[in-house]
């Protein structure tokens, strides 16, 4: 087709030629519009029950198992106007050299073991201190709690970095749940330390504060286990 013969097709025209009610089957790919009415693969204006005529299929074409050459068997109708070319795919975020270097050291898988191990240890020690009434175990639990609280935000930060660059910052249910649980864990840790330091250590030892403190510390183990399980699901899918 010569340059001067190229017809300008509007978005409205494209949409109208959807292969239904006797209309032609037009599809647009990279701003070029093709008439696929004669194709057996496009009967009734749809292809493999997924793609429909009358649409811009630039992105779909890039995911297709066949190349662009299949379109060249059909008539090129013209060029699409009034619409932005959709053949440019969204890029995943590109890390700076320093971020690449950090990510190559796998900071999240390394750091995540600290809040998990220390958090679970804190819950276990408080459980046995309550069970056998051993004050020393409650102290050990508290020190584990402090170190879990220090390492949890670092690990969460490394996780966010990995999610943003390695997984393109795509927000899915698994990442959403992991994010919510991580925030919840950091809050539990901070609150438990605050109650212990502000009330229990100062002798404001009411039963309510003790119950809240023990409850929060016992809650750490299932929370970190759930976060760890989700992390495992991301790295080692079913």
């Amino acid at each position: 087709m010569k340059e001067q013969e190229i017809k300008r097709i509007t978005h409205e025209e494209l949409r109208k030629n959807n292969g239904k009610d006797g209309n032609s089957s037009y599809v647009a790919v990279d701003c070029k519009v093709w008439d696929l009415s004669s194709s057996k693969m496009w009967s009734n204006g749809h292809h493999v029950n997924t793609h429909h005529a009358g649409q811009d299929l630039s992105i779909a074409m890039q995911a297709a198992p066949h190349s662009l050459e299949v379109l060249e068997r059909f008539e090129l109708i013209g060029e699409l106007v009034e619409i932005k070319p959709r053949h440019l795919l969204r890029e995943f975020p590109q890390p700076s050299p320093l971020t690449s270097w950090i990510l190559a050291k796998h900071p999240h898988p390394i750091s995540v073991h600290f809040p998990i191990g220390l958090g679970i240890a804190s819950s276990i020690f408080i459980f046995f201190s309550l069970l056998f009434d051993i004050n020393g175990l409650a102290e050990v639990s508290f020190y584990n709690l402090i170190f879990a609280a220090i390492t949890a935000p670092l690990s969460a930060g490394a996780g966010l970095l990995s999610w943003y660059y390695n997984y393109g910052g795509v927000w899915t249910s698994i990442f959403r749940t992991k994010f919510i649980l991580s925030v919840f864990l950091i809050l539990i840790l901070a609150l438990a330390i605050a109650i212990r330091v502000m009330f229990l250590e100062r002798g404001v030892s009411s039963l309510t504060y003790s119950f809240i403190y023990y409850g929060l510390v016992l809650l750490i183990a299932p929370t970190v286990a759930s976060i760890g399980r989700l992390g495992g699901k991301i790295t080692f899918p079913d």
Binding site: A63, R90, S173
Partner: protein, 79 residues
């Protein structure tokens, strides 16, 4: 119904983003290996493999975009 479909799409998106990561890792390994290759033939082979991983990644990103569009549409429809 559309909530189930959104869940299904979410699972597919998770598979795709994991695979994109794998394709990128493979590409990096092939590129690194091509630089250490002892002969032109092996160097070319690894460079070609790296290029193929790039094509796979592009296809996966296109599939990801289509699924994200579908999810957005369904989320709009969902009550």
């Amino acid at each position: 119904m559309s909530k189930d479909k959104i869940k299904q799409i979410d699972k597919l998106i998770e598979v795709i983003i994991r695979m994109i990561r794998k394709e990128r890792e493979s590409k990096r390994v092939y590129q690194k290996t091509s630089k250490k290759a002892p002969s032109d033939m092996t160097r070319l082979l690894f460079m070609q493999l790296a290029e193929q991983e790039e094509v796979h990644e592009k296809k996966l990103r296109a599939a990801l975009e289509l699924l994200e569009c579908e999810k957005k549409e369904l989320t709009k429809l969902s009550p």
